[in-house]
């Protein structure tokens, strides 16, 4: 595909239903009311010159370049700020307009450096383009304007883009993008007259409030704000539209390329999940794909203390198959298994679970969703009938009340957070249920109506007390319940929830929340009229994770907040393809489409399609695999794109399990922490190196398109196929589209999904089949997938992880904006400038009691283990609760977390660990051991011989 230049309509699209007809340069056009004359003109192919207008932000009307003449009106109004009206006759070109526009351009150019040939924006500069369009031939005011800021130094503090004030035309597009698109309000125009310039609050960009989302860079019509990669390489020559490989928002991007080199990633305006917006990770943090740490050749070793030996693909694959076969012969068919990756494509995860079931001959397949959103699948399937969220992202634009529970969208799902913040600025009310004061509670132009800073581990107590308030105060939607829900289950649940033990007053000692606040929040949610719940891992990663998901589903049914725009129960999925990995049958108990392995009809369907007999009992979950390894009955594992040693709880236990195995196979981009205990390493491919699809948090299936060839030679699905063949079960796919065709044949919800449809529509949300050929943005309209909605009893059961005199604090863990999960990707980018190490956030009171000061090294100890890290005194924390991230292997945050987990799914209870924090003089023993072993276990033979 040639370099893709998207049409800039100048002003945002109007969604009004009323239409108006007008005439532009004699051409009739009909547009929604509220459409600017500028946008209407583009609809009929007339591009009015412009500089300060761009369709991602509201019209500003400052550049005076887009002037037009309107019959019957005096003067020359700006087409960007003039709305189309019925019968209007517009003229966009005349001698008078030419003269005016040239005059405006003369003023701009007189104040702009004329280094066009050596400017990084050359070939993609709107100022240059406009000079051409208006026919600028001379500048009567000279070329040495006062505003060149010749003595100003270019701000290169941000690792990804630079700011050269000399080139600024003060159009304010960047300032408005920061406000309207991103919602951070980090930029302003400083000074007056010739001295006016864009400023990130009077400091450099790196020290400012800028979150590096790139919206300002994208909006800039000159080279004032420009990507450093473009400065270094030049403009791209072709584009590849693909999907981001970071969080579950699933943003569409245009990879702008020079040959096989990525020049920049630009958010794609037609991307239905992101509408042209991005965050620092997707926009800029792709450098890991070419990082020197990438492993480019397969490697094997007999013992983990041996150096790795590079081998051919055939040697590595045959060695793996031979080991797995030996293990199965010795320990039985069920002694091996594998883990699919939520970072890989649908097609790749489908293939791994197929290989495990068909070639390994067992159901020992699991995925990293186990440790994040498995309770979502359980809770929503049992109440609504589908293991997925109910809405699309755009639904938030019609929400009146937004309840965010256990999620930190501005850090973990930043692009959706921007959309949510726009709705909040437009007047939606906000309830935040979170132990920490996350940014959303109070930020620029946003203030939560209620922040319920509950004690960690008491989610279910809170949701029950909210439901209790709604039922006992008569705020429920009786009509919805009567029509849409199972009434026997409802009555049973009503009896339970009305009991005084579930009242906010009775729950207050557990939750720590004033009952009056809980009641007020409950009333606000019930009042709506459109109330939407958004939640994250602060809900699921608890011993009652599934119970809490059920509790939220109960609440939505109780108030009728389902089946239309603006409402729903919305999981914010952690990884790019967590939804897809679950959809594709990665769990040990179910086939693609969430059908249980014991269901005879489904099993026979797959047996027939795959030509093998399949097991009818569930296989092992990840934690069960580790337990079984320690027990001696599980001896080999194939891990695709997952770092279980760093991401899963209780590192010591995980290490013991890996050490007990005889053949650990890691397929990844890098020698991750798990690879330290591996015997085979298969170099995987990044998202830029493969074809396939990802499914985001709103069930949206989007194409991943290969921008460059796989640097290690094979795409991940090809590696799995080779291994399967070596195991005696050959598969024959020529392209991932053939794998998706098989998924569609065997999975009712995917029956209508084809690559052709994805190319045509851009993306599609499942279910996509004969009943919904263009997909399903909103679920459960008119009825639930399971028939009647099912209320389930959600008794609050306090976690067994309790604070004690020895461990008096509660540790909760999570993510930060600039890093991503185990850091395999982001920690190999310039994002480290913002977050080079994991930090422990601690309340001032707790710090003072322990003699801890800002930046001190502290010891973090639980009954599972000990690590050390630096402390940050934070008012975001409540006393008694500390917080850290798990992005850096050396920190080993999961050395401290325990084996407690969700009762239904085994999702670890990362959010509640009883700990003690004390000042430390040295790093922990575990960290010393880590440094010693890591060096040894990652040695490659060539290195060893040097």
């Amino acid at each position: 595909m040639a370099l893709m230049q998207e049409v800039d309509y100048g002003t945002p699209r109007s969604v009004a239903e009323t239409l108006v007809s007008l005439e532009i340069d004699g051409k009739p056009v009909t547009v929604p009311a509220g459409t600017s004359v500028m946008r209407a003109a583009i609809e009929v192919g007339v591009q009015v010159p412009k500089l300060c207008a761009t369709d991602s932000v509201e019209a500003f009307g400052s550049c005076r370049l887009c002037l037009v003449e309107i019959e019957g009106r005096r003067g020359t109004p700006a087409s960007c700020t003039t709305m189309a009206e019925p019968g209007m006759k517009v003229r966009t070109s005349s001698p008078k307009l030419h003269k005016l526009r040239r005059g405006v351009m003369e003023l701009y150019i007189s104040d702009h450096p004329l280094d066009c040939l050596t400017c990084a924006a050359n070939g993609n500069c709107e100022l240059q383009d406009m000079a051409g369009v208006v026919g600028l031939r001379e500048v009567r005011y000279g070329y040495e304007g006062q505003n060149h800021f010749k003595h100003n130094v270019t701000d290169t503090s941000n690792p990804y883009f630079q700011f050269e004030a000399a080139k600024c035309i003060v159009c304010s597009r960047c300032v408005r993008a920061c406000e309207e698109v991103q919602g951070t309000f980090a930029l302003t125009i400083d000074g007056r007259g010739f001295a006016s310039k864009v400023s990130p609050g009077g400091m450099d960009f790196l020290d400012s409030e800028c979150v590096s989302c790139g919206a300002c860079v994208q909006a800039c019509p000159t080279a004032t704000l420009i990507e450093k990669s473009v400065v270094q390489i030049g403009q791209g020559e072709h584009s590849v539209v693909t999907t981001c490989a970071y969080c579950g928002v699933g943003c569409s991007f245009k990879a702008e390329m020079q040959g096989n080199e990525v020049v920049r990633m630009l958010p794609y305006k037609d991307g239905k999940a992101n509408h042209g917006h991005s965050c620092v990770k997707g926009r800029f943090a792709w450098g890991y794909t070419t990082h020197k740490d990438r492993i480019l050749k397969p490697m094997i070793r007999a013992k983990i203390t041996d150096p790795w030996k590079e081998v051919t693909w055939d040697e590595a694959i045959n060695h793996t198959a031979s080991e797995f076969k030996r293990i199965q012969a010795q320990y039985g068919r069920d002694s091996i298994g594998g883990i699919t990756s939520s970072r890989c494509t649908n097609e790749e995860t489908y293939l791994v679970q197929k290989m495990i079931r068909a070639a390994f001959g067992n159901n020992n397949t699991d995925t990293c969703a186990r440790v994040c959103h498995s309770p979502t699948g359980y809770g929503l399937k049992n109440t609504f009938g589908t293991s997925a969220g109910t809405q699309d992202f755009d639904s938030v634009e019609e929400a009146d009340v937004i309840m965010v529970i256990g999620a930190n969208p501005t850090d973990a799902h930043p692009v959706f957070a921007s959309q949510m913040k726009r709705r909040l600025r437009a007047g939606a009310r906000l309830i935040v249920v979170d132990p920490r004061q996350i940014d959303l509670v109070k930020s620029a132009h946003i203030q939560a109506d209620y922040h319920l800073p509950l004690k960690p581990g008491t989610n279910v107590a809170v949701i029950n007390s909210i439901a209790h308030t709604i039922v006992t105060e008569g705020l429920l939607n009786e009509a919805f319940v009567q029509e849409r829900c199972d009434l026997k289950e409802f009555e049973q649940w009503r009896n339970f929830i009305c009991d005084e033990r579930n009242s906010p007053e009775a729950m207050e000692p557990f939750t720590g929340l004033p009952a009056a606040d809980v009641r007020a929040a409950a009333r606000l949610y019930a009042k709506g009229p459109n109330s939407a719940i958004y939640y994250g891992l602060g809900v699921t990663e608890h011993s009652q994770g599934s119970t809490m998901v059920i509790g939220m589903a109960n609440l939505a049914m109780l108030t009728g907040n389902l089946g239309r725009n603006g409402v729903g129960v919305n999981p914010l999925r952690g990884q790019n393809n967590v939804q897809g990995a679950c959809d594709m049958g990665s769990f040990p108990h179910e086939y693609p489409g969430y059908r249980h392995v014991s269901d005879d009809a489904t099993r026979q369907l797959f047996e027939q399609a795959w030509g093998v007999e399949l097991q009818q009992e569930p296989g092992l979950r990840i934690s069960n695999m580790i337990d079984a390894a320690i027990d001696g009955s599980y001896r080999g594992i194939y891990i695709q794109g997952e770092d279980i040693l760093q991401s899963d709880p209780n590192t010591k236990h995980m290490t013991a399990g890996l050490l007990a195995m005889e053949c650990v196979v890691v397929q990844d981009l890098f020698l991750n922490e798990t690879a330290s205990y591996a015997h085979v390493f298969l170099p995987g491919s990044s998202f830029l190196e493969k074809d396939g699809t990802f499914t985001n948090a709103e069930r949206r299936i989007s194409r991943v398109r290969k921008a460059i060839p796989p640097v290690a030679g094979l795409e991940d699905w090809e590696i799995t196929m080779k291994l399967s063949a070596a195991m005696g079960y050959p598969m024959d796919y020529k392209h991932p589209s053939e794998i998706m065709a098989e998924v569609a044949r065997l999975t009712p919800g995917f029956a209508g999904v084809t690559y052709e449809k994805l190319d045509e529509m851009g993306s599609v949300q499942w279910p996509c089949n004969d009943k919904a050929p263009e997909g399903t943005p909103i679920m459960h309209i008119g009825g639930f997938v399971r028939g009647k909605g099912r209320f389930m009893i959600t008794e609050f059961v306090p976690t067994d992880e309790r604070t004690t005199g020895r461990f008096p604090l509660i540790l909760t863990t999570g993510r930060i904006l600039t890093q991503y999960n185990v850091g395999a990707q982001t920690a190999r980018t310039e994002n480290n400038v913002w977050h080079p190490e994991d930090i422990l956030e601690i309340h001032a009171e707790d710090a003072e009691n322990r003699g801890i000061k800002e930046g001190d090294l502290v010891s973090l100890v639980s009954r599972a283990g000990e690590t050390s890290l630096r402390a940050r005194i934070s008012e975001r924390m409540q006393p008694g609760v500390v917080y850290t991230t798990f992005h850096h292997g050396f920190t080993g945050a999961n050395v401290v977390t325990t084996e407690f987990s969700d009762w239904a799914t085994g999702c670890p209870e990362y959010k509640v660990t009883a700990v003690q924090v004390t000042p430390a003089k040295h790093i922990s023993e575990w960290q010393k051991h880590y440094l010693e072993t890591r060096k040894q276990t990652t040695q490659i033979e060539a290195d060893a011989s040097r």
Partner: protein, 68 residues
């Protein structure tokens, strides 16, 4: 799996269903074991119950006895 962890997990399942009427609760626990526990785990807990099932919630104990 360590016996104490197995007992803890089984009891957590029982605690969820315990709020339901007995037969419904029992059915819920039995089905949960059947649907989500691998054969070797079911075998382990059955063997544990055969030896008395110390520490198991009454509902979990009864449910394990129902497993085929």
């Amino acid at each position: 799996m360590k016996a104490e962890n197995m007992v803890h997990d089984a009891n957590q399942i029982a605690l969820f269903f315990a709020s339901y009427p007995h037969d419904e609760a029992l059915d819920g626990v039995v089905k949960h074991f059947q649907m989500y526990w691998a054969p070797r785990m079911k075998a382990q807990i059955k063997a544990y119950v055969a030896q008395g099932g110390a520490g198991l919630h009454a509902l979990a104990l009864e449910a394990v006895k129902r497993l085929a």
